[in-house]
């Protein structure tokens, strides 16, 4: 059975701090790992990672995948109160297993 474990479950930091969120996984026939941000109802897409060692970056957010050790990290630098959200990691299987398995998420709270 596919499995995704995120840590920490919850994190509270001050505005301006840098945070690192972790995601480890087990999946049949891995195709991709995705990061989402969920503030209210719908998760919004952040990154899709398919290759090891290639950092993806968008503004203050960046992410990298290690397919040998089966984990990914999401970094947020110079955090702002608008970064407060639940960050979800999900893995997608390959042909015949094309579904997303989500982790429980990391709840990030940024204190002004």
């Amino acid at each position: 059975e596919d499995k995704v474990v995120q840590s920490p479950l919850s994190l509270v930091v001050h505005e301006g701090d840098t945070v690192t969120l972790n995601c480890s996984y087990e999946v049949t026939n891995f195709r991709s790992l995705l990061w989402y941000k969920q503030e209210k109802k719908a998760p919004t897409f952040l990154f899709m990672l398919t290759s090891s060692g290639i950092e993806k970056k968008s503004g203050r957010l960046s992410s990298i995948l290690d397919k040998k050790e089966l984990f990914s990290i999401l970094n947020i630098t110079a955090t702002q109160t608008g970064d407060s959200a639940i960050y979800l990691c999900a893995v997608e299987g390959g042909f015949g297993n094309e579904k997303l398995t989500f982790g429980t998420g990391t709840r990030l709270t940024i204190i002004p």
Binding site: P43, L100, T101, F102
Partner: protein, 113 residues
């Protein structure tokens, strides 16, 4: 990226009744999915909505309880049948073109009393 809309955005229903949730994508997509997110939990896949054939359900979900239709490449419905308070959740539709990222609709918040 695809833009996905869902109707209704929220509803309060009595136990024993059924609710049909609609999901519309602004472009043709290969795959559509339905997820449930119970209070304080992460997302759990209910089923993959297959165009022109029966949906593929995940373990713990059955067609009699969650019938799904997908008549074309842009539209799908999920019905929550014979509801009980345990069905109170957010129901999310998502869409993907093979090899691309999966996008989510805004969700339907269902409360069963």
């Amino acid at each position: 990226s695809a833009v996905i809309s869902q109707k209704p955005s929220r509803d309060i229903c009595q136990r024993g009744t059924s609710l049909t949730i609609q999901c519309q994508v602004d472009s043709q997509v290969t795959m559509m999915f339905w997820y449930r997110q119970q209070p304080g939990q992460s997302l759990t896949l209910i089923a993959t909505a297959n165009q022109g054939s029966e949906a593929t359900y995940e373990s713990g979900f059955v067609i009699d309880k969650f019938p799904i239709s997908r008549p074309n490449l842009t539209f799908s419905t999920l019905t929550v049948s014979n509801m009980s308070p345990e069905d109170s959740s957010i129901y999310l539709c998502s869409a993907e073109n093979w090899g691309r990222e999966q996008y989510f609709g805004p969700g339907t918040r269902l409360t069963v009393t």
